[in-house]
């Protein structure tokens, strides 16, 4: 696997849209080609080289390419947007829309990420070693289908509306999550190892939310079905004693929320 290293020089405070930082776009480009890729700063078009030093070796195909970003890119949006293969490693924090509409490949951040990470993704894996913002793995604003494949792993805490409108795939949160986990969920699995604020699974129609920590309160539109010893979800088995809830009945929903007893 060939590596391209992007070293942050200075990121303007206004933030940057950089959907061109993706193995699919970098593949086949030499260093000069990459340096001259377009980024937007506000409505201004700029070249990538103004903000990043570029080093490394060219790869012909995205699956042979690993992009390593050194430095804080928390004001850079859309890194890895729509990528289909290859790898991105961010040695720092990343901004909004990281890996949104991603189809394959791998993204790892050693720091925190902003909101909309993995929005509407359909394949691949995103690993976040820090904390995540809101709307991870969700649908775009107004859209009705969120993440429908792939995997997101958050080692830290997550914000609100995680997995909104999710239809397939898996989100794992090792830390705690805010309100509205799995809102309008239609499939897939959200596994929470920490604690969850209220309104988990609001308006969910299908899919599974497993909460291994505590939940602040369940919505009254969920019906308690009793206790289970193991859960089968997304082809895996989760063992332990859980209370099973069905809902959201306000939507005629058939989703399941399991809370550790």
């Amino acid at each position: 696997m060939k590596e391209i290293i992007l070293k942050v020089k200075e990121i303007p405070e206004i933030g940057m849209e950089a959907e061109n930082i993706s193995p699919d776009i970098f593949a086949g480009e030499n260093l000069e080609g990459i340096e001259n890729l377009r980024v937007y700063v506000g409505s201004r078009k700029e070249r990538l080289k103004k903000f990043f030093g570029v080093e490394g070796k060219k790869a012909e195909k995205p699956e042979d390419l690993k992009i390593v970003i050194k430095g804080n890119v928390s004001r850079v949006k859309r890194i890895g947007q729509g990528m289909s293969a290859g790898e991105i490693l961010i040695k720092g924090d990343a901004g909004m829309h990281l890996g949104s509409r991603m189809k394959g490949g791998k993204i790892t951040t050693e720091g925190n990420v902003g909101s909309w990470t993995g929005m509407e993704m359909s394949g691949g894996k995103i690993t976040i070693e820090g904390n995540a913002g809101n709307f991870v793995g969700s649908a775009y604003r107004g859209n009705y289908k969120g993440m429908n494949g792939g995997e997101i792993l958050i080692q830290g805490d997550a914000g609100s509306n995680i997995g909104a409108c999710m239809t397939n795939g898996k989100i794992t949160i090792k830390g705690n999550a805010d309100q509205f986990v799995g809102v309008r969920m239609q499939g897939g699995l959200i596994l929470l190892e920490g604690n969850v604020d209220s309104r988990a699974g609001a308006e969910m129609m299908k899919g599974i939310i497993v909460i291994e920590g505590s939940v602040k309160e369940m919505l009254p539109s969920f019906m308690e079905k009793g206790e289970v010893e193991k859960i089968k979800a997304n082809g895996e088995e989760i063992k332990g004693k859980f209370t099973e809830y069905m809902g959201d009945l306000a939507e005629g929903g058939d989703g399941r929320v399991y809370v550790k007893s």
Binding site: A139, Y140, R141, G142, N143, Y144, E251
Partner: protein, 544 residues
């Protein structure tokens, strides 16, 4: 001043003058069509092997106003489906089924259209509608006023006060600078205020005790009394429901009128399980009713936005497709709703709906009485017109789609048995001459007519659906009032269109009634009228 233009050797279709496929030169000077050119400084367009027609006229397309704008706000996910950046001095814009104003104008011009009728202007939203008209370049526009559920009118109808009724309509048309009368589910949206609907002509509107039959009869009479250039433009009761063709058949007794998006009102069966087409029966009846015209409301598969002043219908639709729903109430005047909708080939009901639209167009014999629309954006965005033209002109092309559809489209409609293929002349009638004539406007290549012309890179004998669709998607030239505005499918010049409106005579003194009614309005009568400053290119049409 623009150069004079000669369009040489094109194959010309000009239905209003009975010209069908003749090789002919067209001369343009000072924005008008002329018989001969004098000067030598002339731009020559070689249209040899190309088709020349008057520019397109859309009789029914929701492109401006409160509900369209709410659709844009309501669907950010639609907005990112098309993003057009500002190039060559043009404006940027976004949106697929509910595009923003500037790109709406550009997209129409690219297809060779230069006029669109916004068929549903709530009186209180007229100012907003005109503001959007002004920001929609390239096309001439006009608006029809929503009056089928107006409380003041319904009260006059209940009292049988005919004189005041027509004066009030004239006052409203003058105040809003609109062109004619539209009725949407007459009585139904008013009943929705009580959580109810009216499904047949004889259902009573709660509280007012008036029936849709009385509303329709009165509005038709007013159109005639005020001598409006366009007859009552009506969205019938019971739209979108299985078995609604019975309501439609009963409504076909009224005339003259223009029934819009006929496709949504031609369904048989009594539930979604035995849902089927009754388009043939409806079309046969329309064939006998000479003063009725219709437009198709053709479904094209994909994701779109439904929006209508038929508020109870939208509530019903959102409960069927479980998507988001917007409901609006426009004070004493009307209401409306918006729901996103995805038409799917594999959905049995959607497949039948797709076939019904084409059946309507193919079963009605006289192209002067059936116009091509998608009820943009309800059945599909207007950008699909070229595909519908291709379906109508090529049996093979529509059968390719039919094969992909759920089997109900073949089993429960007559589409598979229809071998009629429309000619270019018939298409020219359905997409320009016919709707223009019905709107009381010109769309011809007569001497002295405004030079608004579309030239398509199409062999007149072409029978291949894909090539027909491609040619109509991207006009070789669109000329608007003598200006070349589109060349090779690209907008090359932005121009401002005109706004047509009708000035009518208010016979009765409405002072007292206005004072009383406006007690219930949120604005004063003094602020109600849309001033002429909102119509920088207003074209006043005075009725006698």
């Amino acid at each position: 001043m623009n150069k004079d233009i000669i369009i040489r050797n094109g194959t010309v279709y000009d239905p209003i003058n009975g010209i069908s496929g003749e090789k002919k030169d067209i001369f343009i000077s000072r924005g008008k069509i002329v018989e001969k050119l004098k000067g030598k400084d002339v731009r020559v367009i070689n249209a040899s092997g190309k088709v020349v027609m008057p520019s397109g006229v859309d009789v029914h397309s929701h492109i401006a106003g409160g509900k369209v704008n709410m659709g844009r706000l309501f669907r950010p996910e639609d907005s990112i489906r098309r993003e057009i950046s500002a190039v060559n001095g043009l404006r940027s814009g976004t949106g697929f089924s509910v595009p923003s104003t500037f790109i709406t104008g550009y997209m129409y011009a690219k297809m060779g259209y230069t006029l669109a009728n916004e068929p549903a202007v709530p009186p209180l939203k007229a100012r907003h509608t005109h503001e959007e008209f002004n920001d929609t370049p390239m096309i001439d526009q006009l608006g029809l006023l929503l009056l089928g559920n107006n409380q003041q009118l319904i009260e006059y109808i209940a009292k049988g006060d005919r004189e005041f009724l027509s004066s009030w309509v004239a006052f409203m048309l003058n105040s809003t600078k609109t062109y004619g009368i539209k009725a949407v589910n007459p009585g139904g949206t008013l009943a929705w205020g009580w959580g109810k609907n009216v499904l047949s002509l004889n259902d009573e509107v709660p509280y007012f005790n008036v029936t849709p039959r009385e509303i329709i009869e009165n509005l038709i009479r007013i159109c005639e009394k005020l001598k409006l250039p366009h007859p009552l433009h009506i969205h019938l009761n019971n739209l979108g429901n299985p078995g609604n063709y019975e309501t439609t058949m009963a409504s076909l007794k009224f005339s003259p009128m223009h029934i819009t998006h006929m496709q949504f009102n031609s369904y048989g069966g009594d539930s979604w399980k035995n849902f089927c087409s009754e388009a043939e029966k409806i079309a046969n009846k329309i064939n006998k009713r000479e003063k009725i015209t219709v437009d198709m409301g053709q479904v094209v598969f994909g994701d779109t936005t439904t929006m209508t002043a038929d508020a109870p219908f939208e509530y019903h639709l959102s409960s069927l497709n479980k998507m988001k729903w917007n409901n609006a109430d426009v004070e004493d005047e009307t209401g409306g709703g918006i729901v996103p909708y995805i038409y799917r080939e594999k959905s049995p009901v959607n497949a039948v709906q797709w076939a019904v639209g084409l059946e309507i167009a193919l079963h009605i014999n006289d192209p002067w009485r059936v116009f091509m629309t998608t009820d943009h954006p309800n059945a599909a965005p207007f950008i699909y017109y070229p595909r519908i033209i291709a379906w109508l002109m090529s049996r093979k092309y529509r059968e390719e789609t039919l094969e992909k559809c759920h089997r109900w489209a073949a089993e429960r409609t007559t589409l598979a048995s229809l071998d009629r293929e429309l000619s270019l002349e018939e298409i020219a009638i359905m997409t320009r001459a016919g709707p223009a004539k019905r709107l009381g406007l010109d769309s011809s290549l007569s001497e002295g007519s405004e030079a608004s012309i579309a030239i398509y890179d199409l062999n007149p004998e072409e029978n291949d659906g894909e090539r027909i669709e491609k040619a109509f998607s991207s006009a070789a030239y669109t000329i608007k009032e003598g200006d070349i505005v589109v060349k090779d499918g690209k907008v090359v010049k932005e121009v401002q269109g005109k706004t047509f409106w009708v000035k009518s005579k208010v016979e009765k003194d409405l002072k007292k009634d206005i004072e009383e009614r406006f007690l219930y309005y949120t604005i004063n009568p003094e602020n109600y009228e849309v001033g002429l400053e909102y119509l920088p290119r207003g074209m006043e049409i005075t009725t006698k």
